[in-house]
Amino acid sequence: MKAAAFAYARATSVVNALELLAAHGDKAKILSGGQSLMPAMNLRLISPDILVDIGGLAELRGITVSAGVLIVGALTRHVDLLKSPEIALHAPLLRNAVTHVAHPAIRNRGTIGGSLAHADPASELPACVVALDAMIVVRGSSGERRIGATEFFKGIYETALSPDELLVAIEMPVAGKSSTFFFQEYARRHGDYAVVGLAARAVVAAGRFTDLRLGFFAVGDRPLLAAAAGRLINASVTSALLSEAATALADELDPQEDQQATAAMRRHLATVLLRRCVAALLARPELEAGVTK
């Protein structure tokens, strides 16, 4: 379990990193926190010719708020998300989600940019940025572009990033006072990839949703912004309506089967999460109907 030989370059600036990417194309891999990349290399699942280490690029690190927008640098580590007062105030969903990301040792190294660029459909942060309607900021030799989170994820480990582009930041609107959040996942053990998970942002007024964004993960080849949520917006949520939404959700999902769950089980768990999420966000436990906790 030793990686094949590879070249290593420590980028001195974003421009330098982009030059290295331009020179090596898809034979290069960006090394950020290394928590997915290094195991894959040690298992010889991938053997890049060169690693471009962006770990020294301070310009990619840090959390700032500017004009109602929360900007999180790509190199921001999970542990920083967990401890940041700005995140707690403006994007508490990320904070809640990060507690489910693996274990402390991994959270000390892993970065948000790395997680999003890796695009594992079962990981937490991609679903969060979808629920939070974030913009993914990427830079390439031809300049910078912003990609909506729902457009960014293309499939299993596939994103809208081209090989010569670098993910540099994530931008999110700051949470308004009326926003509420829900995060829950079902994983076999603490820190495992979810069997099914849900990251949600809602605006509730007078007992109704005026906005509801449900970012499901581990239910398909990418995080899914559930259209079924639309049925619950500006409506009086009843048990019957929730059942309708659950049925619509199950139809909308195209989950994969793996060792943890069949597709049917994933559909079922997604509908359980939907009920629990709605009951929690509306503070109406009776909507869980038959659910124990």
């Binding site: 379990m1 030793k2 990686a3 094949a4 030989a5 298992l43 010889r44 079902y186 076999r188 053990r189 603490h190 820190g191 495992d192 990839y193 069997v195 060792q259 943890q260 769950a261 069949t262 049917a264 089980m265 079922h268 768990l269 359980v272 038959g290 659910v291 124990t292 906790k293």
Partner: protein
């Protein structure tokens, strides 16, 4: 702690002043390990040492047509590439059978596959290079042409005429069959309520923190092989290595210092380890093999993987009238060497129904070959199967007649005053304490209050369950386990104790340390018996050149057997010391004692006479001052082996309290209790942590761990992300209590405690899940109890 028998009339050597027995004292090796000064084979570097990696078959069953290593041989750092054919001349193949397991058969197994690979992961070539990385690079350039053969994967069809026979010379795929019929089962069942179920156990493995590791160093000048290996049984390794390399045992030294976990995984002889010994001899240099994690999953022995149909007969008054089982297990393509892969099924037959006073018992066990990784003994061999089947059936019987699970056990467990007695399978019990243990458990868990709480929560649609599992545990095995079958696996152990020239004690023991505290318990016993402080006792273990001959540490034998040898050796040395002291002090040995590192008077309240250092000084440097005819012997050696009982059975009972989320199928473990009777407790903390560690491995089996094979015999989750070991986040608090029935055969009275936790944990959890689900009409007799299994049983998906 409850002591079932009053102490003997006179004080034993263990009741001496300042005894360490029964006390939680820090382990002497803690500082060394915590400061990173452990001596693990994985860390060992020797001059001229090369590294071997094994190219392993990607197929479950394939003929090796050709191996082309020319390109790889030319690569940088490569020393040699060796095939099975080439190594065959250096090391002889083996057959994993024992004569007392009648009918057990297996085929010759080679260190490296010769013509055919029989499981995915069997080594087909060795690549030796200057580093592991260089060897792995070269491995990618070794081209093997395979002809894939049909793989036998499903144990249920392994014996069908249409299924290919894996080893044609054996005639069929049946490795072993055992049939037992005691009492009159048919008659007993004919006038009873009969409940039947099939219990299914996932295949899983031991996952040691440090993988298997070996450095073999053939010294051609001395014609001697030194094997540094993380093993549980150094003398067994010495015997086997010598036998198959054509050497005398005196030409092989096995050194085994610190081992990063074993659990039975490291008590076997693996083909790749044999290959490493042979490569060192062939290449005349030190060769190191350390399994990586993927190799560990594909080649460390697997265990369990049983399907056992069980029946129980019960009368309306709760009397259990009979047990009947039909057990099937698949063990991979070879019976493992040298302990064989029939032991687990044999243990299942031995142990089912064991806690109960039921005389009627019929059993059949069949062990079949298949093209999967080899299976063999892992912690609590057979116990979890037997316990889950027995306790699952008892709970089903209780439900059938509407009786509380505790009450049916009270009415059927062997009475605490019924000993000595024997089970229908012939197991001899010296003294067990099922009822005292159950009573203590109920008190610890506050059973009635818990039942009330369960009922209250049920009304709120919260589904919690209580599961109880009584068990018996095989410890301190005598020669009946392996020796009588012809295996050169010693059931006796030896300890040598000597006083050095400054009054410190050096103790060499044949038991080994893999983290369970062998070093500590030996020092505690020796210090207590001798009357010296523990910090003066140094324990040496794990070196066939420097310890007495013995079995090692496995099957919960270290404390009971090695501990007794330590006690007897220390007693003998103590007598020798007192003899010399009497000569020096013009007293009598009976008038003197050793307390706090000094010779003291017995009859005047313990007045110190001379320090042991002074006695040692006189003996070693001024023997001229001793009276004529006095020849001090400040070293003593004793050996011990159990003779009266084949095994020192222990017993205990466990309980699980958990919650099932009936919408998601997820189980939350809330609490776990264990009461266990391992006889004399030497170090309470070590015992309790043994129990807890064992419970955690049992909980892993219950909820998480499973080697998942596809229909072509591919292990599909051979990594730490997909194979779910139990982790602390999911573990409940585990409370441990004790009942003490000392073993009568030894002065120490200690029995083993290593299997107890694993033996009953899964049964307790399965019973608790079924207890939670009973009002919903679901019964599950399969582990691991995954959310998928539970949701399916509930009809949710």
């Amino acid at each position: 702690m409850t002591v079932t028998r009053a102490p003997a009339e006179t004080l034993s050597v263990l009741d001496r002043p300042n005894s360490y027995i029964g006390k939680t004292v820090p382990r002497p090796n803690l500082d060394r390990l915590l400061q990173g000064r452990g001596q693990y084979v994985s860390d060992l570097e020797l001059p001229r040492m090369a590294h071997v990696v094994f190219l392993r078959s990607p197929y479950a069953h394939a003929r090796i047509v050709a191996i082309d290593a020319d390109a790889a041989r030319r690569m940088s750092g490569v020393i040699a590439i060796v095939t099975g054919c080439e190594l065959e001349g250096v090391i002889a193949p083996w057959v994993g059978v024992l004569s007392h397991l009648k009918g057990l058969k297996s085929a010759p197994q080679h260190a490296i596959a010769v013509d055919r690979a029989c499981w995915q992961g069997e080594a087909v070539a060795a690549i030796v290079a200057t580093s592991r990385a260089a060897a792995e690079d070269a491995m990618e350039h070794v081209a093997v042409e395979y002809e894939e053969l049909e793989a036998v994967t499903d144990m249920r069809t392994a014996l069908d005429p249409a299924t290919p026979v894996i080893h044609a010379a054996l005639g069929d795929n049946l490795a072993f069959e055992r049939i037992l019929d005691a009492g009159d089962v048919d008659h007993a069942l004919s006038d009873s309520e009969v409940v039947e179920a099939e219990f299914v156990f996932g295949r899983h493995t031991g996952v040691t923190l440090e993988p298997r590791a070996v450095v073999a160093d053939w010294n051609a000048a001395e014609a001697r092989l030194t094997i540094y290996q993380g093993t549980q049984a150094p003398h067994m390794v010495q015997n086997i290595a010598a036998l198959h390399l054509g050497l005398r045992e005196a030409q092989v030294r096995v050194v085994c210092k610190d081992v990063g976990g074993s659990f039975g995984i490291k008590v076997h002889i693996y083909a790749d380890e044999m290959a490493t010994y042979a490569l060192s001899k062939l290449l005349r240099r030190p060769i190191k093999f350390v399994a990586d994690r993927v190799e560990s999953f594909n080649t460390d022995i697997h265990a369990r993987d049983h399907r056992c149909r069980g029946r129980i007969g019960v009368r309306p008054d709760g009397t259990i009238t009979a047990f009947e089982i039909d057990d099937l297990t698949g063990i991979g393509p070879y019976s493992m060497y040298p302990r064989t892969s029939a032991i687990e099924a044999n243990q299942v037959v031995n142990l089912v129904g064991g806690p109960y006073a039921t005389a009627n018992y019929r059993a059949r066990a069949r062990v079949v070959f298949q093209n999967k990784n080899v299976m063999c003994q892992y912690r609590a061999v057979g116990h979890p199967i037997a316990c889950s089947v027995t306790e699952g059936l008892v709970d089903l019987a209780a439900a059938k007649i509407g009786m509380d699970p505790v009450e049916i056990r009270r009415r059927n467990l062997i009475g605490d005053d019924a000993y000595p007695c024997a089970s229908p399978s012939g197991m001899k019990f010296e003294q067990l304490s099922h009822h005292a243990s159950l009573a203590k458990l109920l008190q610890m868990m506050d059973y009635d209050a818990l039942r009330a709480q369960q009922a209250g929560l049920r009304a709120r649609n919260i589904h919690r369950g209580i599961g109880i599992a009584s068990f018996i545990e095989v410890t301190n095995p005598s020669a009946a386990f392996y020796g009588v079958g012809g295996a050169k696996i010693s059931s006796q152990d030896g300890v040598a104790v000597r006083l050095d020239a400054q009054g410190s004690v050096i103790c060499q023991t044949s038991i080994t340390e893999q983290g369970q505290g062998s070093e500590s318990l030996t020092a505690q016993i020796v210090g207590s018996v001798l009357g010296v402080s523990m910090d003066r006792v140094r324990v040496i273990l794990g070196d066939t050149d420097n310890t007495p001959y013995g079995g090692g540490t496995w099957a919960s034998r270290g404390a009971g057997i090695g501990g007794e040898a330590a006690l007897q050796a220390a007693k003998a040395l103590r007598q020798n010391i007192l003899d010399v002291a009497a000569a020096i002090l013009q007293s009598t040995p009976a008038g003197l004692d050793i307390v706090n590192d000094s010779i003291v008077n017995v009859d005047d309240g313990g007045t110190p006479r001379i320090e042991l250092s002074e006695l040692a000084r006189i003996v070693y440097f001024r023997p001229d001052t001793l009276p004529p005819g006095v020849q001090p012997e400040l070293m003593a050696t004793r050996h011990f082996v159990p003779r009266q009982f084949p095994f020192a059975f222990t017993n205990g009972v466990q309980a699980s309290w958990l919650e099932v989320d009936i919408e998601t199928g997820f189980v939350t473990l809330l609490k776990h209790w264990v009461v266990e009777d391992c006889g004399t407790i030497i170090n309470p903390q070590l015992v309790d942590e043994q129990i807890r560690g064992g419970v955690v491995q049992g909980l892993g089996a219950a909820l998480f761990e499973k080697c998942i094979y596809d229909e072509r015999g591919q292990l599909t989750n051979a990594n730490m992300a997909d194979y779910l070991v139990p982790m602390s986040g999911e573990m409940p608090d585990i409370e441990v209590g004790h009942v003490v029935s000392p073993a009568q055969e030894s002065e120490l009275g200690a029995k083993g405690a290593g299997e107890a936790g694993t033996a009953g944990a899964a049964a307790a959890v399965a019973n608790a899940v079924n207890d939670a689900l009973r009002p919903l009409g679901a019964t599950i007799t399969e582990i691991p109890l995954t959310p998928q299994v539970i949701l399916t049983a509930l009809g949710r998906i």
